[in-house]
């Protein structure tokens, strides 16, 4: 009897899980289907999925009209660069908060997180003016810096919650054996925290890859990443849905594949410590 209930529960859980997963994945599937239709068919209501023609025409047009690889390269550099720079800054910060906390640590952490609640457009003009002054408008280095700063609270929080799970005694033992701060961070803490650091890197690469406010507003022709590539196919006057969908598929495909292969680490990183 108990076995039957367990099986039924498993079946129900599976059905719910598949339903939720399908709902979440549906927009991506829809975009993929539209990208394989002609412009005329793509906007038909209701969409004739089987009756209309399947074509790769939109992909060919997008490839011909835009320099995909330039945008792709910019996205890779900006996403990876901002994440690695963020890790460099966040590891010492998270270490100090996790192992040498003060009475203000909690407040600082909350304050850092609160900066994520600020509407980005509120600081657009100051940052734009700073970029002009520094001569880094429409540059990849400028985007790396700004995206690092934007994602830094999340990186620090993730590393902090992960570091808190590591027994402080191990670091203390290393110190007693003569390890300096640099050795402690590099040779003791980091190897133990590799899974947490890896999942933090993965999540922040995804966040930086998808960031569409700063990447659109601080770039022009040189540093524009794939978000600008997608935006160039959106139009309120003219039918570009199939091409817009093709551009979207091309932009999300790399990060989708990366997420697919690293989902275990991602889930672990997102849930570790946060619910405890």
């Amino acid at each position: 009897m108990a076995r039957a209930v367990t099986t039924r529960r498993k079946a129900v859980t599976s059905v719910i899980a598949w339903t939720v997963a399908t709902l979440i994945f549906f927009p991506i599937l829809w975009i993929f289907v539209l990208s394989l239709k002609t412009e005329g068919d793509a906007i038909k209501t209701p969409l004739e999925i089987l009756g209309s023609t399947w074509t790769l025409e939109s992909y060919a047009v997008v490839q011909e009209r835009s320099d995909y690889f330039k945008h792709f390269t910019n996205s890779v550099i900006v996403a990876v660069g901002s994440t690695l720079l963020g890790i460099l800054v966040a590891v010492p910060a998270a270490w100090s908060m996790a192992f040498v906390p003060s009475k203000r640590t909690r407040g600082i952490l909350m304050w850092m997180l609160s900066t994520k609640m600020l509407p980005a457009v509120g600081v657009l003009y100051p940052i734009y003016l700073l970029f002009i002054e520094l001569g880094i408008l429409d540059s990849r280095i400028g985007l790396v810096i700004v995206l690092m700063l934007i994602n830094l609270p999340i990186i620090v929080w993730m590393l902090y919650t992960y570091f808190r799970e590591i027994p402080a005694e191990i670091l203390e033992a290393a110190r007693m054996d003569g390890a300096g701060m640099r050795s402690e961070l590099l040779y003791v803490l980091t190897p133990m925290a590799i899974p947490g650091i890896a999942s933090t890197i993965l999540l922040n690469v995804i966040l930086a890859w998808n960031e569409a406010f700063w990447t659109l507003n601080l770039t022009a022709a040189k540093a524009a990443p794939l978000t600008a590539f997608i935006a160039s196919y959106s139009s309120p006057e003219g039918l570009f849905y199939a091409k817009l969908s093709a551009a979207s598929v091309m932009a999300i495909a790399p990060i989708l594949v990366m997420g697919w292969f690293s989902q275990k680490q991602l889930v672990r990183g997102l849930t570790f410590g946060a619910v405890k």
């Binding site: 005329g40 038909k44 659109l216 160039s232 959106s234 039918l239």
Partner: protein
């Protein structure tokens, strides 16, 4: 001999170096639409003629507005040429943010620009942006459905005729809506349509003291007429339909009439995309017998931000892209139906272009629109589907959201107008107009 060779080599090197020094790379921000994309494909012609290269930044219309506004107000210098519309040009020109285009070459023939376009893109008589293409709005209708309804479309119909024809053409069983119009929130979407329509009902946004006028009978008549007509004869969910949605419906044969931008004429008559390409007729946008029609006026134009280091090359590009030569280039490559319309008088005198079925009605629509006298009663602003003041875009977006909520049945027309009145007066007071 050696000395002579040396001098010749040095001279050649100097010439080459000076040539290289003058070859610029222009960064141009533009919108994503068929005409602009076509221009991008033809840029090699400009490069071959001038040696200058071009880098394009193509963005969706609203993203582009935000992007170029940020750049020009901060003097960022990210762009050497910006694509802007009739709304921004006079405001930015007045603020000194744009380079005046009053010294274009004689070959360019600036006098050939349609007066309505030149007027809308000028401030104090100085041209600040050159029109790449211009548009008004007009009626596109199904000739077969009109005949089936036993009606004949006048060249200049009234709103009452349009409402009657829409009812007659509606065939719910066959999924045919008598009329398709924009209801989508946004000052450039449904907001533009209802503002242009309200002009023909005698309404206006502001009186001469910048007081909002949504509490007047004229606005109530406009909105009630629109809602009643769309409820009787419009498509389901019209409150979220914009240009693209209506274009799709019309091309699929689901609209009897569609009143929208004149540039849509080339889309609905293109047999590649439209199932009704050979059954489309055109007429002027309707009026209400008050002396003002409901068509708007718009142009996408190229302007140079003040302070650019590449002003001379930028002017060369603008002269190339908005010239008669460019129109002929497009015609030779893609046919006369695809040339950018509505910018130059000579295009409409060209024998090749006169054969295009929508050419005459496009010109007539443009000529019947006057941004300086767009309302029946006097108003303090310039513009037909907008008031050319910086605050308008924000206010009109909120107002159109209230109107769309009324179209969707979430509130009554009276509630929407009352909210529009209050929010507009608040915003105008905060901005110091009242």
């Amino acid at each position: 001999m050696h000395f002579r060779k040396l001098v010749c080599t040095a001279a050649a090197a100097t010439l080459m170096a000076s040539g290289v020094a003058h070859a610029e790379t222009l960064t141009i921000a533009t919108v994503n639409n068929g005409d602009m994309i076509r221009m991008q494909g033809l840029t090699d012609d400009f490069t071959a003629k001038t040696g200058h290269n071009v880098e394009w930044v193509t963005l969706e219309e609203n993203v582009l507005r935000q992007r170029v506004t940020t750049d020009i107000t901060t003097k960022g210098g990210a762009f050497d040429i910006m694509t802007i519309g009739m709304y921004e040009t006079p405001i930015w020109g007045k603020n000194g943010w744009l380079v005046p285009l009053d010294d274009l070459s004689a070959d360019y023939n600036a006098g050939d620009i349609l007066p309505a376009m030149a007027g809308g893109l000028s401030h104090d008589g100085t041209l600040y942006a050159a029109p790449f293409y211009g548009e008004s709005s007009m009626i596109m209708y199904r000739t077969d459905l009109m005949a089936k309804a036993g009606l004949e479309m006048p060249a200049a119909p009234s709103w009452n005729f349009i409402a009657k024809a829409a009812r007659e053409m509606t065939d719910r069983d066959n999924d045919i809506n008598g009329i398709c119009l924009r209801g989508k929130a946004g000052w450039g979407e449904g907001g533009a349509f209802i503002t242009a329509m309200s002009n023909s009902f005698g309404a206006r946004w502001f009186d001469e003291g910048w007081n909002a006028q949504f509490d007047t009978r004229e606005w109530s008549d406009t909105l009630n007429f629109f809602v009643n007509m769309m409820t009787d004869s419009g498509p389901a969910g019209y409150a979220t339909n914009g240009f693209n949605e209506n274009l799709s419906l019309f091309q699929q044969g689901k609209c009897g009439m569609w009143i929208d931008a004149t540039v849509a004429a080339s889309f609905v008559t293109n047999p590649k995309d439209s199932t009704v390409a050979d059954k489309v007729g055109f007429a002027l946008a309707p009026d209400n017998g008050m002396g003002v029609r409901s068509n708007w006026l718009w142009a996408w134009a190229l302007a140079i931000p003040a302070g650019t280091q590449k002003e001379a090359a930028a002017k060369q590009f603008i002269e190339w892209a908005t010239s008669n030569g460019y129109i002929e280039l497009v015609a030779s490559k893609e046919g006369w139906a695809n040339v950018p319309p509505g910018a130059r008088t000579s295009l409409y005198q060209n024998a090749n272009y006169k054969d295009i079925p929508f050419a005459k009605m496009t010109l007539d629509s443009i000529l019947s629109a006057d941004p300086n006298n767009s309302t029946v009663d006097p108003s303090p602003y310039v513009g037909i589907q907008f008031a050319a003041i910086p605050e308008f875009a924000g206010i009109a977006t909120e107002v159109s959201q209230e109107f769309s909520a009324a179209y969707a049945g979430q509130q009554s027309v009276e509630e929407a107008l009352a909210k529009a009145q209050a929010l507009t007066n608040d915003a105008m007071e905060a901005a110091g107009y009242r």
